[in-house]
């Protein structure tokens, strides 16, 4: 068979791609009894040098949270030592099904935070980073300049608070509150 002909080939799950003596199985493939099969709908490609065979999926790629991803979420519930966050956007991609994550007090900022109540309140929009994807709920951190609260709501009247001289102030009732603010506060990320 011509090498070029074999380079790109449309495949569906269960299509035989070759044997392990022939190719090294790559992404989108699996091995059963020494035979390489495709496990997704897409195009099978062979790297001529490394002999690696891969399937480039043409369907949607299922999302799974991974370490290092930057996320947008809403604070759901706050306790003394941690806050629960509903994450709905990861690396700029809107998720069809949001997932829950947790922030521990020790990961809120680079400085000492006594309780989460000093940093987040329910309803806040926060920008955070995933630091743990091994256990669920996934763990987040906001200990960086760009991470933290993007939108805070007044606990007195519910109005969106504005940043006034490094202080969060409610434009309606004038109350001042404490948060772990991101440098992007009030802007979109």
């Amino acid at each position: 068979m011509d090498r070029k002909e074999k380079l790109v080939q449309p495949v569906t799950p269960g299509d035989k791609l070759g044997v392990i003596e022939e190719y090294a199985p790559g992404n989108g493939t699996y091995v059963n009894n020494g035979v390489i099969y495709a496990k997704q709908v897409g195009y099978a490609m062979v790297n001529k040098e490394s002999k690696k065979i891969e399937v480039m999926p043409k369907t949607r790629i299922p999302f799974f949270p991974a370490k290092g991803q930057k996320v947008l979420g809403r604070v759901q519930h706050v306790e003394d030592k941690f806050a629960m966050v509903k994450v709905f956007k990861v690396n700029g991609f809107e998720l069809k099904s949001p997932f829950t994550a947790v922030i521990h007090v020790s990961f809120i900022s680079r400085f000492f935070t006594k309780t989460v109540y000093d940093a987040f309140k329910p309803g806040d929009l926060i920008y955070a980073q995933i630091i743990g994807d091994k256990n669920q709920p996934f763990q987040l951190t906001t200990a960086a300049k760009d991470l933290g609260v993007l939108e805070a709501y007044c606990s007195n009247c519910g109005e969106l608070m504005i940043l006034d001289k490094k202080q969060l102030k409610c434009p309606k009732c004038g109350s001042v509150e404490k948060r772990k603010i991101s440098e992007f506060y009030g802007r979109k990320v």
């Binding site: 449309p10 799950p13 299509d15 989108g28 099969y37 709908v41 099904s97 669920q136």
Partner: protein, 250 residues
Amino acid sequence: MVTVQKLINEEGLRVDGRRLDELRPIRMEVGLLANADGSAYIEHGKNKIIVAVYGPKEAQPKHVSLHDRAVVRCRYHMAPFSTDERKSPAPSRREIEISKVVREALEPVIFTEYFPRSMIDIFIEVLQSDGGSRCAAITASSLALADAGIPLRDLVVGCAVGKVEGKLVLDPSDIEDKLGEADMPIAFIPVLGKISLLQMDGMFTEEEFIKALNMAKEACMKIYALQKQTLKEKYLQVEKEVRESLTLKE
């Protein structure tokens, strides 16, 4: 409804004009629902079934989640207008059973271990029912799973064999199912060579059973080819582009 005395005529043709080993016409479609992660539609004879797949997503409620793999949930539901007489929309005993067997037929092909603590939802809605709807549901569900981009070992195919007037008939329709002597739906995984669903009501002799099983497997391979063609058709337009872009790069 017309009363039928003979289900197989002198020429060996069935009520709907098929030969004994002939399938009903099948049409499939994928990716028709915008809000589902994956979807498929199948017309298998008079069966009209729509399948939506959601996930892998966070398990809800949390206590059902498994620490080492995804949970697969399945809901087979018949629309109230899908039968001759109105069917109550509440899940019946039959629907609960089919939900369970369809889930168990599909689970062996899904790489659930890639998505620990998450959940995959499969919703099967029967818009019009005929004989062998659970087989058609399995066929469509595996297409919807592939459309959702969930890694699969293979596609699962369902097909039934029945016994009518002492003869084995492939893919029995509703009347043949009700008036016939036996009905055996199977789900087949071609690559693994395994059967993930085998049910039977009525009676088969041992020889009949072996013959029926082979008939069903053969028919499954025909449907399997159709499934692959459906998936390829959906992505065929891009094939050209990829080929062109690759030849340009070289």
